[in-house]
C-alpha cells in the first residue's frame, strides 16, 4: 500500500476536534462533550464565532455556485469536515447535475460520517488523507481519477489551511497541489486572518493550541500569496461577506470583524475558454 503508515493514529474522543467543534458552531449535534465544552468557551470569548462560521459556509456556497455557473463539474474539497446543510455536491448540482465531488479529510470520524451520508451517491467520493502529505493525497485513486482527464477542477481549501502550521510549509503544499491541477482549474480559499480582529488572535489561538488541530491565523499578504500562479477572480482577496454577496445588503456592517479572508483564483486554460 502506498505510503501506509506503520502505526495508524488512535482516535481520541477526549480532546476536541476542529471538524466537530465547527459543527457545533453551526448549530449541529455531530459532536461530543469535549467538543462542546471547548466551543462554548471559545464563543464566550468571541461571541461572533457562530456568525463567522455561517459566513464561511455561505462563502463556500457562493463560490461553488459561481464555479458551477462557470461550467465546473469537478470539485476537490480538502478539509471537508462533517457534512452539514448544503454540502458541496448538492449546491453544485443545482447548476451542474452531473457534478462530481471528492471530499478529503484527515479526521477519521469526519471521514466515516461522510461515508455513511454519501454511500448512496454515485458521483461523490470520500477520501481519508492529509493535506500535509500532498504526494500521498494525490496518489489516492479517487483523487487521481478526478484530476485525470483534463477537465478543470475546483480545489476547495476552505477553513482548512489555518490548521496547517508554518513548519508544514503551507505555501509549498498549495503550490504542489496547484501543479497537479489541469489547466483552467480554480482555487477556492478561506483563511482566518490576523488583521480583522487583532485582539482575538492570541486568545483564539490559545484555545485551539490544546487540541490536535492548533490554529495559525495569518496576515493578509501571506494569505494572498496562496494564490501565486493563479489569476484572481473579481473582487480578489476580500473579507468573507464581501465576496460576490447575494445582495448588497448581505455584506453587513464591518465585514472585517468576521476575520476571514477569502478569494477564488483560476489557472490559465490552455485553449481560450468556451
Amino acid at each position: 500500500m502506498h505510503g501506509q503508515r506503520w502505526s495508524p493514529s488512535w482516535i481520541d474522543f477526549e480532546t476536541p476536534n476542529a471538524a466537530r467543534v465547527y459543527d457545533y458552531y453551526l448549530g449541529g449535534s455531530h459532536n461530543f462533550e469535549a467538543d462542546r465544552q471547548m466551543a462554548r468557551r471559545a464563543v464566550e470569548i468571541w461571541p461572533d464565532l457562530p456568525k463567522i462560521m455561517q459566513a464561511n459556509r455561505a462563502f463556500l456556497r457562493r463560490s461553488v455556485q459561481y464555479l458551477a455557473g462557470e461550467g465546473f463539474t469537478r470539485f476537490l474539497d480538502i478539509g471537508s469536515g462533517i457534512p452539514t446543510v448544503g454540502p458541496v455536491h448538492e449546491i453544485a448540482r443545482e447548476v451542474q447535475p452531473e457534478a462530481r465531488v471528492v471530499y478529503v479529510d484527515r479526521d477519521p470520524v469526519a471521514v466515516a460520517h461522510s461515508l455513511a451520508m454519501l454511500s448512496d451517491d454515485p458521483l461523490s467520493r470520500v477520501v481519508h488523507a492529509d493535506l500535509t502529505d500532498p504526494e500521498e493525497l494525490l496518489a489516492q485513486p479517487d483523487v487521481a481519477a478526478l484530476l485525470d482527464g483534463g477537465a478543470p477542477v475546483a480545489l476547495l481549501l476552505v477553513a482548512v489551511l489555518h490548521f496547517v502550521p508554518d513548519e508544514a510549509q503551507p505555501h509549498r503544499l498549495v503550490a504542489r497541489l496547484r501543479d497537479a491541477l489541469p489547466p483552467g482549474s480554480a482555487l477556492v480559499l478561506c483563511h482566518a486572518c490576523r488583521e480583522g480582529r487583532p485582539d482575538q488572535v492570541g486568545p483564539h489561538q490559545d484555545i485551539y493550541a490544546r487540541t490536535r488541530t492548533p490554529l495559525t491565523m495569518r496576515g493578509c499578504e501571506e494569505i494572498a500569496a496562496f494564490f501565486d500562479g493563479f489569476r484572481l477572480v473579481d473582487p480578489g482577496v476580500v473579507y468573507l461577506t464581501q465576496w460576490r454577496p447575494d445582495s448588497p445588503d448581505a455584506v453587513g456592517p464591518a465585514p472585517e470583524r468576521l476575520a476571514g479572508l477569502v478569494g477564488v483564483g483560476r489557472l490559465e486554460s490552455e485553449q481560450a475558454p468556451p
Partner: protein, 690 residues
Amino acid sequence: MNGPPAADAPRPSFPERWTRLLRAHGSALHPRKIDALGSRTADLVLSGRADQAAADLVNAHFTDPEMLVQAVELLRFTGFQDPDPVGAFAAGWATSLRERTLVQQESIRTAADTARHEVERALHASEARFQAVFEHAAIGIGVGSLDGEILAANRSLLEMFGARLDDLRGRRVTDLVHPEDTPEVWDSYEQLVAGERDNFQCDKPYYRQDGEVVWTHLTVSLIRDEDGRPRYQVAMMEDITDRYRLQERLHHQATHDPLTGLPNRAAFFERLEDLLATAPPGSRFGLCYVDLDRFKIVNDSLGHAAGDQLLIEVAGRLSGALVPQGHLVARLGGDEFVVLLERCRGEHDAVAAARTVLSALQEPIRIDGHQLAVGASVGVLERPVGTITPGAAVRAADLTLYRAKEAGGARWTLYDARTNAESVGRYTISVRMPLALERGEFFLEYQPLCALSDGSLAAVEALVRWRHPLLGVLGPDEFVPAAEETGIILPLGRWVLEQACAQAADWQRRFGPLAPQLNVNITARQARSKGLLADVGRILAETGLEPSLLQLELTESSALEPRDESLRVLQGVVDKGVTLCVDDFGTGWSNLAHLRDLPLTGLKLSSAFIGDPASQDAASGVSWRIVSGLVSLADSLGLTLTAEGVETPDTAERLRSLGCDWGQGWLFGRPAAPEALEALILARADKSVN
C-alpha cells in the same frame, strides 16, 4: 426586492414578517431559499400545521433559541384565533430539535465507532504486516533489552545461528563475543545501550550453536520511545560468511606464493614495512637473503616440473626449520627466499638463522629418483630498526648475498657497510647519480656541534642525503665513495656547498651574531681540483656568507701526499678567511705530518674512540687515554677538538673534563631539516647573556 418597508406603507403581512424573521436569524442558505422556506412555513402556520413549520425550520438548521422566542412572539402578536399556533409551534420545535439531536448524536457515534474499528483494523494489519516482515525477512533480526537480554529473534537469525529460539532467548548479547571481535565493536555497543549513539555497523563473527563460525555484517540500532528515552536494541545481521571466506581466500592468494604456499614478496614487504614502522626504538631486526646455488642446473637438466618440485621441497624445509623459531619465511621469486627475524638480539641471532638455512638444505633432496644437493648462499643483514628503509635493507641483504656467491656459494656472508657501499656503488649508484643530481634527488640535513662546556650550539655540519627512488634515503657512506671514484663528486660537492652556504647566509641575515658556523665536507678529489677555490670564492660572494662562518671538513678517504696539489688549493681557501678541519681524525691519517703542513683550525675525533665511560674493559681504557693524548696535542697546536658520536651525558661529561671543546652526536641532536635547528640557534641568545 425585500428592502425595508417605507414608513407610511401598510403593515406587512404575516408571511412577510415571518420571512424577515428567518432572514435575521442568519444562515448559509441562499436568500431565495430562505424566502421560499419562509413562505412555505408561513403557509403551514396559516393552515394550522404550526408543528410541521417548526420541524421544517429545525431541519434547515434554524435552531437558535433566540429564534424560537422571536417566532413565538410574532405568532402571539399576530393574534391568531382558533387554533392557537403558539403551543403547537413550540411543541413541534422542541420535538424536532430533540429528534434531530438524537439522530445526529447517533450518527456521529456510529461514525466514531466505524472510525475506531477502522483504526484498530489498520493497527492489526500493520502489526500483522510488521510481524510478517520480521518473521520472513531475509536478514536476521533480533531484539534485545538495554541490559543485553535477548528478547526475540526471527527465523533468519535462528538459521544463521543454527539455534532454536529457546537457545537464544534470555541469553545476554554480551555472551556472544568472539575472539576476532575488534574492540570498537564492544565500545560502540556500550555507547549504544547507554543512549550515546543511535546505531553502529560492523562485520562480526559469531559462534553458531554447533560451534562453527558465522560471519555477519551487523547493524545495531537503538529504539527510543515517544519521549526519546532508549528502550530496546535491534540487531540486524546479514550472513557474509561466504563473502568473508572468499575475501580471506583472495587475500591469501594475493599474499602467498601459489607454488610453495609461502608468503610472497608483497606479503614480506608489507610485514617488513610494518615492522620498521612500529617496532620500538632500539630494537633490532635481521634478514637472511637465500639463493639456491644450483637451481638453474636442475631446472635445465631435469625440467621445470622437477624444478618446481625442488622449490616446494626447499620451501617445506625452510619453513619447517625456521617458522617454529618465530621467523617469517617468504619466497621472493625464482629460487630466492628470505627469512625475516622480527626480534633480533644481535648479529649472532641472524647468523644462527643463516646457519639453520644452510643445514636445512644440506641433506640432498630426492626428486624423481635423483639425489639433488642444491646448496644455497645466504646474505645476512642485522640492523637496528629506524636506521634503514625496507628497500635499502633488502637491497643490502641482496648485495651481501652476491658476495657469498662470488666466494663460491654454500656459505653465508654478513653485511658490511664498506663492502656494501662498494657494491652499491657498482650496481646502482654511480650510473644514476648524474641524473639524480639533475632531478633534485639530493637534499641536505644539518647536525649540531655543541660546546661541551655549556651545551650551546657552536656549529652545524651539513650532511648530504639521496632520496633514491628504489633504495630509499641513502646516507653519504653509501654513495660518496662511488661519487668520488667516478668524479661526480665534483658537481655534487659544488651543489652541496651552494645549498649549505645559502642556508647559512640566511641564518646569518636572520640571526646576526647568533648564526652558527657551517661545516661542509669535502673529499680528497675535491681538495685536489682547482675548481674548489673558484667555487668557494663565487659561492661566498653570491650568498653573502661571512667567510669565517664556513669551515671545510676534509674527509680522509685517501691520504694527501706531502707536496700534493691539494695543499695549495686548501691554502688558497684558507686565505679567503675560510677555516679547515680534519674529519674522522685517528682512523686513516697515519701521517701526523699533515697536521703541520695543513692550515688547520680543528680536529674531529672519530666516534671509534668514544667509548662508554662506565666500561671497565681494557680497550675502552686505551681509547680514553688516546682521547686524552689527542686533547693535549690539539691544545698544543691551538686546534679546536670536536668529539663525534657523543650519545650520553656521561660521555659528554668525561670529554669535557678531559678538555675536549665540542661534541657532536645524538645527545646534541640528530641530522635534521634546517628549520629544526632554529630553536637551538635562538637558544644561543640566552647562553650568551650569562
